[in-house]
């Protein structure tokens, strides 16, 4: 019995040795198989998108210009809000000018004579350098009368750099009654 067991174990050992020798081939085939499998998985994924090519993610700009809606908070450029009477709320306090990190805003003030004969400070020109603006929103936050806000425009390219320097107050506009 004892001897028989020995023999078995000998055979087993031999088997293991053979197995080890075969392991190289087995591993080789395994490598090839796993490698090919991983590639096929990738190919299947790209094939899925190839056959479902209507799931496009790109914006069809400028074809979708008419339907393009930008979020109302989008920071495109600074504008001075004018109402239908061509009146704005800017008192010329230069808070925005001070808040701006890039000297984008330059406010040129003048003194209006009010009907009562008092001298009153008002803006002459609200100069805005779009080329310097980084849309950081600090001027909007700083404005005490909410006279300026960010517009949702983004097509700012022009042929001449001088066109980027804008005067925001419209011709003949004046400050709204009651805004101090």
């Amino acid at each position: 019995m004892q001897e028989f067991k020995k023999e078995v174990s000998f055979v087993e050992k031999n088997k293991i040795a053979i197995k080890k020798k075969n392991m190289f081939i087995v591993n080789y085939i395994k490598d090839v198989f796993n490698g090919v499998k991983s590639l096929v998985v990738g190919l299947r994924r790209t094939m899925y998108y190839f056959s479902h090519h209507k799931e496009i993610i790109t914006e069809q700009y400028p074809d979708n210009r008419d339907t393009l809606v930008l979020p109302d908070r989008f920071k495109g450029e600074v504008i001075l809000v004018h109402d239908e009477n061509n009146e704005h709320a800017c008192t010329g306090c230069t808070a925005c000018e001070l808040a701006c990190p890039n000297a984008t805003i330059k406010i040129i003030t003048k003194f209006d004579i009010s009907p009562e004969g008092k001298k009153k400070k008002a803006i002459d020109k609200f100069v805005y350098h779009l080329e310097l603006c980084t849309m950081c929103n600090l001027c909007i936050v700083a404005c005490p009368t909410d006279a300026i806000k960010m517009a949702q425009t983004f097509e700012h390219s022009v042929y001449n750099r001088a066109e980027l320097t804008k005067v925001l107050n419209k011709q003949g506009s004046k400050i709204r009654e009651g805004v101090e």
Binding site: V32, L39, G42, T46, M47, Y49, F50, H53, I57, T58
Partner: protein, 358 residues
């Protein structure tokens, strides 16, 4: 029935009736030349557009959609742009070789057109060593790449060229061995004979698993030989900017570009001929009615659809896989593809001798 072979035959008889044999020969050569060049132009346009469209769809984009209906004329616009661009030669470049290299590339591509059977009885040159000719000529491609890389006087170009040299030389082996599998089975080097041997079924179906393995190895090897991703180490743009054609611009660049696509077409045509039966229609055993319907589809249609299927396969690879590293590339060839294809060739030979295939 209107087919390529009938047209060519009628032209041949008309020329023979009108002129003496020398002039006929000359005229036919001119016609063949014009035909090949126009085929080049059309293939270039179609393949570039196809590549861009395949890439776009895989990448969830639309692809070219500006020039012409659905962007169909995009590649034409690109060609015009490349034609009018300035072709620069860098300082310190070997001017003669630098200018010669793109032409060699395109000439090699032209030479490879000769033995391809585009349709039934429609072939430029039916030679008895067609397969050998194709493998021999396609190796010349590496010379143009090495020439371009060396003459550019640019380290990126040189490295790209050297990589390409190592790559093409090694992948020639497994491409050759897998082609050999079909040669063994069909017993001929003549491409027409190989096609004829597939009249009752294509080799990929008749040849069991060994031929399928040979086919896969063939596709991998030719992808590498034509420097297409994931084996595009010669131009690996994230490592070598553009590899061997870094310094090329304008028309000379366009020639390299065109040669790449023509080479893809040719290797796919060869693959289609060897494994998928060339212009041979799809037949199923003795199902006569089905085979008859298949016969009605023109042979040229069969050939081109098979070729374009293989081209699509190669494009599909390109837009899915990352690039290999140079040592892994050579490992893949010498450690995996070559032993497998050698063993496979043995199997195929045994199969051919024992007649185990259908």
């Amino acid at each position: 029935m209107l087919s390529f072979s009938n047209i060519s035959k009628s032209i041949d008889t008309w020329l023979n009736a009108t002129f003496n044999s020398t002039w006929t020969m000359l005229f036919e050569m001119v016609i063949a030349g014009v035909g090949v060049i126009s085929l080049f132009a059309i293939l270039g346009l179609v393949l570039v557009l196809m590549e861009r469209r395949v890439a776009a769809w895989i990448q969830i984009r639309l692809g070219p959609n500006r020039v012409g209906p659905g962007g169909m004329l995009q590649s034409l616009a690109d060609t015009v742009k490349l034609l009018v661009k300035e072709g620069m030669t860098p300082d310190g470049a070997d001017k003669f070789l630098f200018n010669l290299a793109p032409f060699i590339a395109i000439i090699v591509a032209m030479l490879l057109m000769a033995p391809i059977a585009f349709a039934k009885n429609f072939q430029l040159w039916d030679m008895n060593i067609g397969v050998l000719y194709v493998t021999a000529i396609s190796s010349i491609m590496v010379i143009s790449i090495l020439m371009a890389g060396w003459a550019s006087n640019n380290k990126y170009s040189l490295m790209g060229a050297m990589r390409s040299g190592a790559q093409i030389v090694s992948y020639e082996l497994s491409a050759g061995l897998s082609i050999l599998a079909i040669v063994v089975l069909s017993g001929s080097l003549n491409l027409n004979d190989i096609i004829q041997s597939q009249a009752d079924g294509w080799w990929i179906f008749k040849g069991h698993i060994p031929v399928i393995i040979a086919f896969i190895i063939f596709i991998i090897a030719v992808t590498a030989e034509t420097n297409r991703a994931p084996f595009d180490l010669a131009e690996a743009e994230s490592e070598l900017t553009a590899g061997f054609h870094t310094e090329y611009s304008g028309m000379k660049f366009a020639l390299f570009f065109l040669a790449e696509y023509i080479n893809v077409f040719i290797v796919c045509a060869i693959g289609a001929t060897l494994f998928l039966g060339g212009w041979m229609p799809f037949h199923i055993g003795n199902w006569e009615s089905f085979n008859h319907i298949m016969d009605y589809i023109p042979s040229s249609m069969w050939f081109f659809s098979k070729t374009f299927f293989l081209i699509f396969l190669i494009m599909w690879f390109r837009w899915t896989f990352p690039r290999l590293r140079i040592d892994q590339l050579l490992n893949l060839e010498w450690k995996y593809l070559l032993p497998i294809s050698m063993f496979n060739l043995l199997l195929v030979t045994a199969m051919a001798i024992l007649g185990w295939h259908f």
